[in-house]
C-alpha cells in the first residue's frame, strides 16, 4: 500500500472511530493518542512522508496536512464537548430556591405610619412625641373639652386617677408642643392611644393616631385643604378624589371630616364603602382660638390648622383586612403577609 492509500485508509478509519468515541476522558484520550499522539497513526504517516521524493511530497503533502488538521480539530471538538459536560451544565438546576435571606419586616401599621410621616416630613413637618399616660388638662381641658360636656362622650376614657388618664388621642402632643415652642410650629405627632370601647372586629381598646399641627401667621382653611390633598394623593394615588364635610371637634373650628373616593370601587359604590362611594380617612380643622390662647399663643395674631388620622383603619382599608384584632394578635401567618 502506498502512502496515499494509507492516508485515505487512516482518514476513513478516523471518521469511523470518531463516531464511536464516548464522552469519557479515557475514550477521548485513546482516540487522541491513536491519531495524533507522538506514536499515533498520523505522525507515523509524516515520518514515512519525509522519505518520499520531491514530486511525491508535492502530491501527498497537501492531503496529509489536511488530514492532520482535521484530526486535531476533531480531538479539540470532543475535548471541548467533554469539558462542557464536566462543567455541570446539564445537572445545574437553576430552579432551586435562592437563599432565603432574613425575611423579617415591619408591622403593617408601622409601615403605614412611616409612610404618613415621610409624606408630611417632605412638607416640612417635624415629629414630636408625648406620654401615653396623660393628665385631664392636656387630653381634654386645654383642647377645649369643658367638664361635663357631651363631647367627652365621643371618647370613652380609661382613667388612672380622677385627673390622670390614658390619652384618647395624640392631640395632647399639640398642647405640649405649643407650650414649649413659639410659632411657626409645624409638627406631626404619631403614637398609641386608648379608648374604653368593647373589643370587636371593628374596634380595639388600643390603636394609633397621627396628628398634625401648623400654627403661624395667616394660616388659612385653604392651606389645610391643599396639605390634606397632597397627602391623600401621595398616599392613595393621584386619581383619588377628596371631599371635606363640616363636622365638630372641640379643639378645632371650623372642623371637617375628610373622605376619599373609595379605593376599591373608585366611587361607584361597593361593600367596603357601604355603597356611598366614599371612605372617611381623617378629621381636621382650624385650631380653636381657645386652644391657642390656653397655650399662650395670641389667636388674633396667629392661626393654625390641625388634622388627625388613624393608621390602623387606613391599614385595614389598604390591605382589605376585615378584623382590627388581627393587628394586635401577632399571628406569624398574618405578620408574614406584609
Amino acid at each position: 500500500m502506498n502512502l496515499l492509500e494509507r492516508t485515505n485508509e487512516v482518514r476513513s478509519q478516523l471518521k469511523e472511530d470518531l463516531s464511536k468515541v464516548q464522552n469519557t476522558f479515557q475514550s477521548i484520550e485513546d482516540f487522541r493518542l491513536k491519531y495524533i499522539g507522538k506514536k499515533g497513526l498520523i505522525p507515523s504517516l509524516f515520518r514515512d512522508f519525509s522519505a518520499l521524493c520531491a514530486t511525491e511530497k508535492r502530491e501527498i503533502g497537501k492531503i496529509l496536512n489536511i488530514l492532520k488538521k482535521d484530526a486535531e480539530k476533531a480531538v479539540q471538538n470532543i475535548q471541548d464537548r467533554f469539558a462542557d459536560s464536566q462543567s455541570g451544565e446539564d445537572e445545574f438546576d437553576y430552579t432551586l430556591p435562592g437563599v432565603p435571606f432574613n425575611r423579617g419586616h415591619l408591622h403593617p401599621v408601622t409601615q403605614t405610619m412611616n409612610r404618613i410621616c415621610d409624606i408630611f416630613k417632605e412638607m416640612g413637618f417635624g415629629i414630636e412625641f408625648g406620654p401615653e399616660v396623660e393628665t385631664d388638662f392636656y387630653n381634654f381641658q386645654a383642647l377645649n373639652f369643658p367638664d361635663n360636656h357631651p363631647a367627652r362622650d365621643m371618647q370613652d376614657t380609661f382613667f388612672i386617677e380622677d385627673d390622670i388618664l390614658l390619652r384618647t388621642h395624640t392631640s395632647p402632643v399639640q398642647i405640649r408642643t405649643m407650650l414649649k415652642q413659639k410659632p411657626p410650629i409645624r409638627i406631626l405627632a404619631p403614637g398609641r392611644v386608648f379608648r374604653n370601647e368593647a373589643i370587636n372586629s371593628r374596634s380595639y381598646c388600643v390603636f394609633h393616631q397621627v396628628e398634625g399641627l401648623y400654627v403661624d401667621e395667616n394660616v388659612t382653611f385653604g392651606e389645610l385643604k391643599v396639605t390634606i390633598e397632597v397627602f391623600a394623593k401621595k398616599f392613595f394615588g393621584k386619581d383619588v378624589k377628596l371631599r371635606f364635610r363640616p363636622s365638630y371637634f372641640p379643639f378645632t373650628e371650623p372642623s371637617a371630616e375628610v373622605d376619599i373616593s373609595c379605593i376599591i370601587c373608585g366611587g361607584k359604590g361597593c361593600r367596603l364603602c357601604k355603597h356611598t362611594g366614599w371612605l372617611e380617612i381623617m378629621g381636621c380643622g382650624m385650631v380653636h382660638p381657645n386652644v391657642l390662647n390656653t397655650c399662650g399663643i395670641d389667636s388674633e395674631k396667629y392661626s393654625g390648622y390641625a388634622f388627625g388620622m388613624g393608621p390602623d383603619r387606613i391599614t385595614l382599608l389598604k390591605y382589605g383586612i376585615n378584623d382590627i384584632r388581627l393587628l394586635f394578635e401577632g399571628d406569624i401567618r398574618f405578620l408574614r403577609q406584609f
Partner: protein
C-alpha cells in the same frame, strides 16, 4: 336623629330628591344616610279587605278569612287572634317570595285549601312585631300594592348629629338648615287653641329651689281630655322615625319633641299633691321609681321635680311611675322647662340613663323655646284628646339665659378661610340662621345669636357657619404651602426608626401588642417596678399598663404555638410605664425594644443546615445594634434570675442597656404551658440613643502586608474564651492587630471535660513588613503562656 322628608315638608319647601337632600345635608355638617324603606323589597303583596270570617272545620285555633282583592275574592286560612271583618290587611299571593326568603306555595291547612296568606309585620320585614296580622288604616285602597301604599309616607333620613347641634334634634331645626340652601321660607305652625276661663294659677304653683339646675320652668293645665288612640297621620309620622304610638297624649308630646326639639313632660294632674311643683336637688340616698319600673337611689347631683309631698319626676331625664298618664287620666299638667346642661348630664351619667329628653337637655335646649313648645303641645292635646286649656301660663324664669352678642369681622372671615365672600351674602345667611342683626358697618356685623344655637358664642363659631353654608368644597386650595426652618425637632424619631428597620433586617417580624395587661404580667423580669393600674378596665386581663414588653411577646408566642407555628422570630418596640408619684402623670414612661426567638431562627433551606434559636443570636443582634449606633464596647455579665435558665445583663459605660437570656423551662411550663425553649432580649431605647454616637473616624489603610497565624488549643471546658483571649492579647505584642475566635469543638477525638478552641491572629507593623521569625517568636510566647496559665495543649 331620624327625620322624615314628608314631615320636614310641613315646615319648608324641599326642591330636592331624597338623594340630593342626603348629600346637601351632609355638606352642611349634618351627616345623613337615607334609611332604606324595608317595604321596597316587598313585591306581590296587595291590600285586601276581610269580608267574611268562617270557623275552620278541623281546627279550633284557625279560621278562614274571605278577602276581597278588588278583582276577586279568595279564602285564606289564618291563625292570628286579631282578625276582624272589615279590616284592611296585606295579602300575600301564591308564588310571592317574602323578605325572609320564604316563597308561598299552594297548601292545604288541616284539609282546607288556602289561596294566600295574611301576615304579621315581621314576616314582611317591616318590624319585629309578631303580635298578629298587620292591619292597615281603613282608608287603604283595596287592590293597591302594599309597597306603593307605604311609599307615600316619605323617606326617612338618619342624621349622625355632632354634639354641638342640639337645634337639629328636631324637624324644625333641620328644616331651618335646609332653608339656608334653598332661601325658602321656614313655616312654624301657628297656635290655634283658645283658653278656658279657669285660671291656671288656681291649679298649679311653681317654686324653683335649685335655680342653677333649672333656670326656667313653665306649666299649663289641660282639663277634661280623653286619652285614646292617635290618628293615622300621627302614628305614621312617629312610625316613620321609629317611634311607636302609645296614646294620643303621649304621642302628642313625642311629636312636639321631634318637631321642636324641646322635651316636655306630662303629668296626671290628679297625682300632683298640693297644687304645687317644686324643683330641687335630690338628697343623697333618696329613692324613686321611674316609669320604666326601676327603683333608683339618687345623689344630690340629680335634680328632682316634686309636688308638695314627694318627687314626681327626675328632671329632664325621666318621669316617675307615681304621676304617669293613664288611660283614665282626664286632667294633665304639662311641664316645659329649661334645665342646665351640665346638671342633666351629671344626673344622666350617674343614673346610667340616657333618654330623648336628657340627650337634648345636656346638649342645650332652647330657653326661649319653652313657651312655644308648651303652647304647641297644649294645642295638639286639645285637637287630639279634647279638653280645655286653663287660662295663662305659670312661667317661672328666675335666671334669664342672656342672649349672646357676637361681632364678626368680614376680613377675619375671609382671611381665616382663604376665600373672598361678599359681606351681603354673609349677613343674609346670618339672618336665615335666626340671628338678629344688631349693627353693621363696613368692616363688621354685630349679631345676636338665636337662643336655639347655644354653640354660637363667638366670632369663630360664626365663621364656621359661613364655611358650612358656603360649602367647604367651594373653598379654593391654597396655591402655596409654607415650610419654615425648624431647629427644634430632635432626631430621636429617626434613630428609633433606624433601630426598627435594623432589627427587622435581622429576619425578625415586628408585632404590636396590647399595652393593657393582667397584673401578673407586670411581675416579669429582672426589674420589677410597681405598675400603673387602670381604674375602669375592660377586664381583669387588661387592668394594668405593661411594665415590660416580654409578657406580650410570650403571649403572642403562646398563641402561635397553639397554631402549630413554633418558629418565631418576633420583636416589638413600644412604651412601658412604671408608677412614679413624683411625675406629673404619676407614671414614668420608657420606650423599650424586645425580641423573642423560638424554634428555628432560619427558614428551611436546601443549601445549609438552619440555625436554632439561641442566646448567641440575641447577643449577636445586640452587638450589631451597638455597632450601628456607634457604641464600641459592651460589657456582658452573667446574672441569676428565677424566671431565667440563663440571663446576661449588658452595660455600656456603666449604664444598663439590655438583658437577654433563655427563659426558665420550668417557668414556661408552669405559667405559660410552653414546652419549647424561648429566648428573649429587652433593651431600653432612650439609653441606646443616649449612648449612641454619630462620630466615626476613618483609619488609614495599612501600607505593609500582614502575617496571619491560627492557634488551636485544648482546654478544660470551664475555661472562658474571653480568658484565653486576654492571655493571647497579653503576649501578642504590639503587632497583634486582630484576634478572632472562630471555632469551638467538643466530642469525638477530644477528651471529656476538654474543648478545642481556635483563634485567628493577624500581625502587622505600620512602618515595615514584618518578618516571619518575629511572629514565630511571639507565637511561641503565646503558646508558653497558655500552657502555663491554662494547661492548654496545642492541637
Amino acid at each position: 336623629m331620624i327625620v322624615n322628608t314628608k314631615w320636614l315638608e310641613q315646615y319648608t319647601e324641599i326642591p330636592y330628591s331624597p338623594e340630593e337632600l342626603e348629600e346637601k345635608l351632609t355638606y352642611l355638617g349634618l351627616e345623613s344616610t337615607i334609611k332604606k324603606n324595608p317595604a321596597e323589597k316587598i313585591n306581590g303583596v296587595i291590600i285586601s279587605e276581610i269580608t267574611e270570617i268562617f270557623p275552620h272545620p278541623n281546627a279550633d285555633r284557625l279560621c278562614i278569612c274571605r278577602v276581597d282583592t278588588g278583582i276577586n275574592t279568595m279564602d285564606v286560612v289564618c291563625g292570628a287572634p286579631n282578625v276582624k271583618v272589615g279590616q284592611k290587611v296585606p295579602l300575600v299571593k301564591i308564588g310571592t317570595t317574602l323578605p325572609n326568603g320564604m316563597t308561598l306555595k299552594p297548601v292545604k291547612i288541616r284539609g282546607v285549601q288556602s289561596e294566600g296568606m295574611l301576615c304579621a309585620e315581621d314576616e314582611l320585614g317591616l318590624s319585629d312585631d309578631h303580635g298578629g296580622i298587620m292591619v292597615l288604616d281603613n282608608e287603604a285602597p283595596v287592590g293597591m300594592e302594599l309597597k306603593d301604599y307605604l311609599a307615600g309616607s316619605g323617606t326617612s333620613i338618619d342624621i349622625d348629629l355632632t354634639p354641638n347641634r342640639p337645634d337639629c334634634t328636631s324637624h324644625i331645626g333641620v328644616a331651618r338648615d335646609i332653608t339656608l340652601l334653598t332661601g325658602k321660607e321656614l313655616k312654624i305652625p301657628e297656635i290655634e287653641f283658645t283658653e278656658s276661663d279657669e285660671s291656671v294659677r288656681d291649679y298649679i304653683d311653681v317654686e324653683i329651689i335649685n335655680e342653677i339646675g333649672c333656670p326656667r320652668y313653665a306649666a299649663r293645665v289641660v282639663r277634661g281630655v280623653r286619652v285614646g288612640p292617635s290618628p293615622k297621620w300621627l302614628v305614621d309620622f312617629l312610625g316613620s322615625v321609629g317611634v311607636r304610638s302609645i296614646n294620643n297624649v303621649v304621642d302628642a308630646a313625642n311629636f312636639v319633641l321631634l318637631e321642636t326639639g324641646h322635651p316636655l313632660h306630662t303629668f296626671d294632674y290628679r297625682m300632683i299633691n298640693g297644687n304645687k311643683i317644686i324643683v330641687r336637688s335630690a338628697k343623697d340616698g333618696e329613692e324613686v321609681e321611674t316609669i320604666d319600673g326601676v327603683r333608683r337611689e339618687l345623689i344630690k347631683d340629680v335634680l328632682l321635680i316634686c309636688d308638695a309631698e314627694r318627687p314626681v319626676a327626675v328632671a329632664g331625664i325621666m318621669g316617675l311611675a307615681n304621676s304617669e298618664i293613664n288611660e283614665d287620666t282626664t286632667d294633665i299638667l304639662i311641664e316645659s322647662a329649661y334645665f342646665d346642661p351640665a346638671t342633666i348630664r351629671k344626673g344622666s351619667k350617674y343614673l346610667g340613663l340616657q333618654t330623648d329628653a336628657s340627650y337634648r337637655f345636656e346638649r342645650g335646649a332652647d330657653p326661649e323655646g319653652v313657651i312655644y313648645a308648651l303652647n304647641r303641645l297644649s294645642d295638639l292635646i286639645v285637637q287630639l284628646a279634647g279638653g280645655a286649656v286653663c287660662k295663662g301660663i305659670v312661667d317661672c324664669y328666675p335666671r334669664i339665659v342672656k342672649p349672646r352678642e357676637i361681632i364678626v369681622r368680614f376680613k377675619r372671615v375671609n382671611s381665616l378661610l382663604g376665600v373672598d365672600i361678599q359681606q351681603d351674602w354673609i349677613v343674609e345667611k346670618f339672618e336665615k340662621l335666626g340671628c338678629k342683626i344688631l349693627d353693621r358697618d363696613s368692616g363688621s356685623v354685630r349679631v345676636e345669636a338665636p337662643s336655639w344655637r347655644p354653640d354660637l358664642e363667638r366670632e369663630i363659631d360664626m365663621i364656621e357657619e359661613v364655611v358650612r353654608i358656603y360649602g367647604m368644597h367651594n373653598v379654593p386650595n391654597a396655591k402655596v404651602m409654607r415650610i419654615q426652618p425648624n431647629y427644634e425637632t430632635t432626631h430621636d424619631y429617626e434613630l428609633v426608626e433606624k433601630l426598627r428597620e435594623l432589627i427587622a433586617n435581622f429576619g425578625l417580624y415586628e408585632m404590636c401588642s396590647n399595652s393593657l395587661v393582667n397584673q401578673v404580667f407586670t411581675e416579669f423580669g429582672p426589674q420589677t417596678l410597681s405598675p400603673v393600674k387602670v381604674k375602669n378596665p375592660l377586664s381583669q386581663d387588661m387592668s394594668h399598663l405593661r411594665t415590660t414588653l416580654i409578657p406580650g411577646l410570650l403571649q403572642t408566642a403562646k398563641r402561635n404555638l397553639n397554631h402549630q407555628n413554633p418558629d418565631l422570630p418576633l420583636f416589638e418596640i413600644g412604651f412601658v410605664q412604671h408608677y412614679n408619684p413624683q411625675k406629673e402623670t404619676h407614671a414614668e414612661e420608657f420606650q423599650k425594644f424586645a425580641i423573642l426567638l423560638a424554634g428555628f431562627f432560619e427558614e428551611k433551606y436546601w443549601g445549609y443546615e438552619r440555625r436554632k434559636a439561641d442566646v448567641f443570636i440575641l447577643k449577636g443582634i445586640l452587638e450589631r445594634i451597638a455597632n450601628r449606633f456607634g457604641i464600641s464596647k459592651i460589657d456582658f455579665k452573667l446574672e441569676k434570675h428565677k424566671q431565667f435558665d440563663q440571663i446576661i445583663s449588658t452595660e455600656v459605660d456603666g449604664r444598663q442597656l439590655a438583658y437577654l437570656g433563655r427563659i426558665s423551662q420550668k417557668y414556661l411550663q408552669n405559667d405559660w404551658d410552653i414546652e419549647i425553649p424561648v429566648f428573649v432580649l429587652e433593651g431600653d431605647v432612650s439609653t441606646l440613643i443616649h449612648l449612641s454616637s454619630q462620630s466615626r473616624q476613618y483609619v488609614e489603610l495599612p501600607v505593609f502586608p500582614s502575617i496571619q497565624r491560627d492557634i488551636s488549643i485544648l482546654v478544660d471546658t470551664n475555661i472562658k474564651v474571653a480568658d484565653v483571649e486576654r492571655l493571647i492579647v497579653g503576649k501578642g505584642g504590639k503587632y497583634l492587630q486582630e484576634l478572632r475566635f472562630y471555632d469551638l469543638y467538643k466530642g469525638k477525638n477530644i477528651d471529656k471535660g476538654q474543648k478545642s478552641v481556635t483563634f485567628n491572629l493577624v500581625f502587622r507593623a505600620e512602618e515595615r513588613t514584618l518578618k516571619d521569625a518575629e511572629v514565630e517568636d511571639t507565637m511561641a510566647a503565646v503558646h508558653k503562656t497558655l500552657l502555663k496559665e491554662l494547661g492548654a495543649k496545642l492541637r
